[in-house]
């Protein structure tokens, strides 16, 4: 792509001016709203990251020519690299800052969340990773439309994918704006626009190759940063003994809740709620389009399997670090006026989610604070880029090329469409970020997981394993899962009561997955059982060939030729 040579530098310049303008605006003492002070080391390190990743984008742009390059990085990513990229997708700013903040406030309860987020990975490996790689080409919709009515299945799969992507995008953009405001002293709107412009550049020019490498670099930076903070803080909080028991002792002495932080508290008390949340966390992961897409970037099923092994290891290690960080933050930050703010959420400067950031300063001063702030920004960019690419491929590959054009367009048109889709999604993400600034968006990630677990995951699992599934069954179950998960969240305590302000929720549980997943699987089963159409017979017959390809990889999409 030679035109990126002409387009990229001016865009980069524009962006730097924009960032500079934001910095100046933030530093302006006459500004209407009080902002956090400017963080110079953080901004320098962030600019280094941006320059580096734009360099990668430039490199990737010259290697991104075909649709296969754009969607799957040509299928040439190794299992180890993909494992890091998957871990990167999963280690969002929300899980890094959110879980360490949760441990800081409630102790042990934070660990329960981490465990739920992690145990979905082995399930993905055992049941869908290799199968996905053997059956799919660019998106998980390829797999669920393999032997079914293409138009209907792709419409369902891409709608569900887009719903998950948009919900996730809103949560990420609003979180990004707020976080960057606190960390860098940039005004909210500037932050949201910078994120939007950068990810559009990564994705349109560099496609999956750039998106993957941005994610890998960020994962390495985040893992190293978190390692330094966690062990540095453990050293300080245990008086140099590195003995967690010493740190735990100090933490229980100083924390308001005392010894209660060492065991499960109020997070999980209702068994139905607990089971339902667990289902959403475990199986929602297996239905996130930006995660599923990563399985097409490796050469074959063996590499797909390896990527989950590495990803599980990195993510598990990362969660243990967040646990250590939360506890050492209790010891090192509590009572220190430099970090505490009685008016903020959780009593800590910047709010509950800033425990890890404040801890970075306590361990390594301004330099480590700057580094971890830059990494947090990078994390948002990388996760949003992955989401945008997944959304763009649902639009261009599934909706445009296969539903509207019935596969009658050439590859170049499809790639062009995916770039248009990327730019549109970037603009939509910026607008939604601005519109939702003052809204409570925390529930959106939960909703995204519930929809992914109740629509995407059931049709994916059943199309791989249930030979008697038919298009009609998948339609019934998939749409019911999507609608019921959304409705039950709307009518539940989080939205109906806390956000809309009604007295009592119509649906009593915060987590609908137990019910909406049951509805989806029952819908698929009943709809397929009652389907005696000609189509149904053909779809039953086509299962044999699908299963052979799924089991052996014979006929699967090959790796890159270059």
């Amino acid at each position: 792509m030679s035109f990126c040579r002409y387009v990229l530098p001016p865009l980069l310049l524009l962006l730097l001016i924009l960032a500079g303008g934001g910095v100046l605006a933030a530093g302006d003492p006459g500004g209407a709203t009080p902002r956090e002070s400017l963080n110079i080391p953080a901004i320098i390190m962030f600019l280094v990251f941006v320059t580096g990743t734009l360099g990668i984008t430039y490199w990737a742009a010259q290697r991104t020519k075909t649709a296969k390059d754009f969607y799957t990085a040509g299928g040439g990513i190794t299992g180890f690299q993909n494992g890091l990229a998957i871990a990167g997708d999963y280690m969002s700013a929300a899980s890094f800052l959110g879980i360490s903040g949760l441990v800081f406030l409630n102790g042990y309860d934070g660990l329960i969340y981490s465990v739920g987020f992690l145990v979905g990975w082995p399930i993905i490996m055992f049941l869908i990773a290799e199968q996905l790689r053997n059956l799919g080409k660019y998106t998980y919709a390829d797999v669920v439309s393999y032997r079914f009515q293409r138009v209907q299945m792709r419409t369902l799969a891409s709608t569900a994918a887009l719903v998950v992507v948009i919900l996730y995008l809103i949560a990420q953009m609003v979180g990004a704006g707020k976080l960057i405001e606190i960390l860098f002293g940039l005004p909210y709107n500037y932050a949201v626009i910078i994120v939007g412009v950068l990810i559009v550049m990564y994705v349109t020019f560099g496609g999956m190759l750039a998106t993957t490498w941005v994610q890998i670099i960020k994962a390495i930076l985040l893992l190293s940063g978190a390692t330094v903070i966690a062990f540095g803080a453990l050293y300080m909080a245990s008086d140099g003994s590195m003995n967690p028991e010493v740190m735990f002792k100090k933490a229980t002495d100083i924390h308001d809740k005392g010894g209660a932080i060492m065991g499960p508290g109020t997070l999980v008390t209702n068994p139905i709620e607990a089971i339902s949340l667990g289902l959403a966390l475990m199986f929602g992961t297996a239905g996130l389009p930006h995660i599923l897409m990563r399985f097409f970037t490796v050469g074959n099923a063996i590499e797909a399997r390896k990527s989950v092994f590495y990803a599980t290891g990195w993510i598990g290690y990362f969660y243990i670090l967040t646990f250590l960080m939360g506890f050492s933050a209790i010891v090192l930050l509590t009572g220190n006026p430099e970090y505490m703010d009685p008016n903020a959420v959780g009593g800590i400067k910047g709010g509950q989610n800033m425990a890890a950031v404040n801890l970075a300063h306590a361990v390594g001063g301004n330099l480590l604070l700057g580094f971890i702030s830059a990494v947090a920004f990078a994390t948002i960019l990388a996760v949003v880029a992955g989401l945008t690419l997944a959304g763009a491929s649902a639009i261009s590959h599934d909706l445009y090329a296969n539903v509207f054009a019935h596969g009658r367009i050439d590859e170049q048109q499809e790639v062009r469409m995916s770039k248009i889709a990327t730019i549109s999604l970037g603009v939509i993400a910026i607008l939604l970020g601005i519109v939702f600034e003052e809204q409570n968006v925390a529930f959106l990630v939960g909703l995204a997981f519930a929809v992914a677990a109740s629509a995407n995951f059931p049709i994916l699992l059943m199309s791989i394993y249930y030979g008697k599934m038919t298009t009609r069954g998948a339609m019934l179950g998939g749409w019911l899962g999507l609608v019921s998960a959304s409705l039950l969240v709307l009518l539940g305590p989080t939205v109906w009561q806390e956000i809309l302000g009604f007295d009592a929720p119509i649906f009593p549980y915060k987590n609908p997955a137990l019910f909406s997943m049951t509805i989806a699987f029952l819908g698929i089963w009943i709809g397929s059982m009652l389907d005696h159409s000609e189509n149904a017979k053909q779809e039953h017959a086509a299962f044999a060939a699908q299963d052979v390809r799924c089991q052996t990889g014979i006929g699967a999409e090959g790796a890159a030729s270059h």
């Binding site: 499960p264 209702n270 068994p271 607990a274 092994f309 060939a545 089991q551 052996t552």
Partner: protein, 102 residues
Amino acid sequence: MQQDLVHAIKSNPKYHELVSKRSKFAWLLAILMLLIYYTFILIIAFSGQILSRPLWDGAVATVGIPVGIGVILSAFLLTGIYIHRANAVFDKLTREIKEEVL
């Protein structure tokens, strides 16, 4: 995929060996993971105080900490076990099937 190739693979005994061995093993591990996780969650929901007991007399660290970290490690370990067996058994069978029919 051509129908005759599908037929050739499906009538190969090694294919049946592969499918039955792999799906049994994969579902066994998946169920094991679910059991481990839900035992953990249900202990918390029904009798969380078990996990709040001190790890040894006079300890601040509780039983819950090695248990929680144990669940994380078990997830990693199970994926490792699957990989180990897949490399040794399933990939070998797949290779042999391909050599015989292609």
